[in-house]
């Protein structure tokens, strides 16, 4: 992955910049020692690392504003960072950039159950948002797998999803407003506690803009009353085609499950060896979860079982208790850990139309042979968001490159069948150079116009999302 050549003027100006930042924010908020900046050299895409010039950790929106203003005046690129859990390299620094971390901004500002929202500082972790409201019977719906660690700031930047999007939507559907600092230090408030919008939907384009339009310091989030209960059913099938058809039939029946998870045979085997969840050894496994009162759940699970029965399942296991539910989820939740134990892996994130599932899995199987790397599929089947895990050996020279080439082919396939490169992880640097496969030049230009307006000097996270060749004239003006 190529990153732009660092700007030598910026590098030479480092002492002055650090001096100004320390004067404005204090010693505690600025890290410039090379050893200490290493803690920020990468995010969860660990194959790529680069220590930044410095790290600033502001303690307030006002301090974020001061820091950005200084960087703006000095022409220094800024890489915003939440908790650094991006799988796409969204928080990867460059040598000539400042990392601006929001981890100290983690307070709850306001909870309002009558109007069902919570206002938090953006460094707060996803799970602790729910933690702040669950005693009152509420929760925050988007639930990325990294929810224990990931920050709301990063969720907004990547428009994060999770396993329960089919019913509750992704971050953008649960975000009511933000306080954001523009690159020039100006503080703006967009959206709020009301649902109506006057004017252009700026909040809609800020969510998912990967930290390129501004630094969000506060967020107003929709919270929902927790359902009375939830239970899954596990179903095993002897082919991916049949499992895919079953997913369509469930959706067409009028049931809206909160989650439909799909695992293929390599994934089932790995999870079984690792977590001993008692999964049947079948070609495809579905875990479908529904919510409601006990009787409502029974009713929906019975209906799902009836639909599945028409597809001759090898196994049908309806959970009747929290213990049984935990057993069904145990393997799925261990999927990534299981893979990690076998080997290094790369987790992809393309989305496909659900109807293309059998074809895509067949093609991935064929490509796996061509590239000589194993792949296991775990997949949010309800919304078509795939997570193929390609296994490789990081210590074997050339294996990462083969893995990346294989991953790129899978993502191109996703686009070819009508889907997209990334469903919830974001583009970052990982998919940056594949953007041409999904978007024509005019489509990319249209998106970059938005950045031109919000950040005319292209200082915020500038080498992400768009291929470097198309951003060059914007970055080096």
């Amino acid at each position: 992955m190529e990153m732009p050549k660092p700007n030598s003027f910026v590098l030479a100006n480092k002492p002055k910049l650090i001096d100004r930042l320390i004067k404005a924010l204090g010693m505690d908020a600025v890290i410039s020692d090379i050893e200490e900046t290493r803690a920020y050299e990468c995010d969860a895409l660990t194959a790529y690392r680069c220590p930044p010039m410095a790290v600033v950790l502001p303690a307030s929106t006002q301090e974020v504003s001061l820091a950005l203003r200084i960087c703006y005046e000095e022409g220094v690129p800024v890489v915003p960072r939440g908790s650094g859990t991006s799988l796409a390299g969204g928080a990867l620094p460059t040598e000539d950039a400042i990392v601006l971390g929001v981890s100290r901004l983690n307070n709850v500002i306001e909870t309002d159950y009558e109007n069902r929202f919570i206002r938090v500082q953006s460094g707060r972790t996803n799970l602790s948002v729910t933690g702040a409201v669950e005693e009152e019977g509420f929760f925050y719906a988007p639930d990325p797998s990294s929810q224990l660690a990931c920050a709301i700031a990063g969720n907004i930047a990547m428009n994060s999803g999770g396993a329960h999007c089919l019913k509750y939507g992704v971050t953008t559907n649960n975000l009511l407003g933000v306080k954001m600092v523009m690159m020039n230090g100006e503080i703006v408030e967009i959206g709020g506690t009301q649902l109506g919008i006057s004017g252009l939907d700026l909040l809609g384009v800020i969510c998912g803009s990967e930290g390129q339009l501004g630094v969000v310091t506060e967020a107003t989030l929709r919270i929902l009353a927790k359902p009375q209960g939830a239970r899954p059913i596990l179903m095993g099938f002897d082919s991916n085609e049949v499992a895919g058809a079953c997913v369509s039939d469930i959706i067409e029946s009028g049931i809206l499950p909160v989650a439909i998870e799909f695992m293929d045979r390599p994934c089932i085997e790995a999870c079984e060896n690792f977590a001993k969840a008692g999964y049947p050894m079948v070609e495809a496994l579905l875990i479908v979860e529904v919510e409601g009162s006990d009787r409502e759940i029974d009713f929906q699970l019975a209906k799902i079982a009836e639909i599945a029965s028409a597809h001759n399942p090898v196994e049908l296991r309806e959970s009747k208790s929290t213990t049984e539910s935990a057993a069904i989820w145990a393997g799925r939740k261990a999927a990534f850990g299981a893979m990690g134990q076998i080997n290094d892996y790369m987790c992809l994130d393309g989305t496909i139309p659900v109807s293309q599932l059998p074809y895509v899995l067949k093609r991935i199987g064929e490509m796996s042979k061509e590239f000589g790397l194993d792949v296991a599929n775990v997949f949010h089947a309800g919304d078509g968001n795939m997570h193929p895990l390609i296994l490789f050996d990081a210590n074997k020279p050339g294996d990462l490159e083969v893995c990346e080439a294989f991953g790129a082919e899978i993502l191109k396939l996703c686009v070819e069948v009508g889907g997209c490169l990334t469903g919830e992880h974001g583009v970052g640097i990982e998919k940056r150079d594949l953007m041409h496969t999904q978007y024509a030049p005019a489509d990319l230009t249209a998106q970059m116009r938005v950045k031109d307006v919000f950040d005319p000097k292209w200082l915020l996270n500038p080498s992400k999302v768009f291929p470097l060749d198309v951003t060059e004239s914007h970055r080096l003006q």
Partner: protein
Amino acid sequence: MTPRNEGELAGILKDAAAQGTRLRIKGGGTRTGLGNQVTSNTVVEASALEGISLYEPGALTIVAKAGTPLSEIENTLSEAGQMLPFEPTDHSGLFGHTDGVPTIGGVVAVNASGPRRLQAGACRDALIGVRFVDGTGEIIKNGGRVMKNVTGYDLVKLMAGSYGTLGVLTEVSFKVLPKPETAVTLQIEGLDSKKAQSAMSAAMKTPFDVTGAAHVQSNGNSTTSVRLEGFHASVTYRARELKSVMDRFGRTEVTDQADIWQRLRRFSYMPDSGEIWQISAKPTDSPTILDRVSAYVADYTMDWSGGLLTFSVPQGRDVRADIGGYPAQVVCLRGNARAFHEQPLPLAQIEAGLRGKFDPSNILNPGIMG
């Protein structure tokens, strides 16, 4: 002008940009009264860009050309037991007789979202892909036909509710939902706005998945309504549970015959003439906002659990001045006042900047958003 396809539309817009011809963009023409008046006699109609391009019930996805009548989409979905989640509002009753019918492009252009917006999100939330031609004649696509997609910036949301000022929509894709088997409405008569709002908030705090909460004050009567939808057995159960919550606020009736939701969608509680205003605020603020205009507002609807007030106002009242400093979006839906809420300066500058990029010659519905 009625382009027959996207390419023709692109040609028309390119020419208009070169000549500085200001254009009014029209779908079915049933919402032309919304927004500020557009000073142009050259109309570009989307009516020939018509037809459903793709519908996959098993993937909850529909894609249609922007000029497709809304009714065609709703009928197609209904035949497969599905629906648009956001219950699009129908403005035709507000602006008198037109010979056109609402189009799906028009729905998107004004982000027309009805009572279910409260639970299922707005039009912009269900919208997952767009194709449009911008003010330079460039054809642009964003998003696609899958519901989970974070590839690049989300221009889909930006296009929803942009009133044609960033581009002329040619195709739109939606995430759809199963149509509920049953709907029942729990109703309480005679509550004042504050008690009604509290009752609705109480309902929204339950886990029973309320899909509509509205209070209507009309001709001296008031009705507070809360809707439950889903499978019959489940709705029956939840209605019983929710009734015990609602009974605390007043005697609660359960009916499956309520027409309130259809009437709200069509603004049929509003008079045939006169100014109509809409205020979106934090639900618990709405009763106080109503107090501030009580000198001239008797009848009103309060949808979205209180989050959306709609009422008629005698000519010439400055509603914005009267409600004072509430953080609300105040819109003049029908009338001569400035249509939209004024945005604070930095946001207004960003909006102007975006319009300048997408429509540098200022030819697309100029001035409609202020």
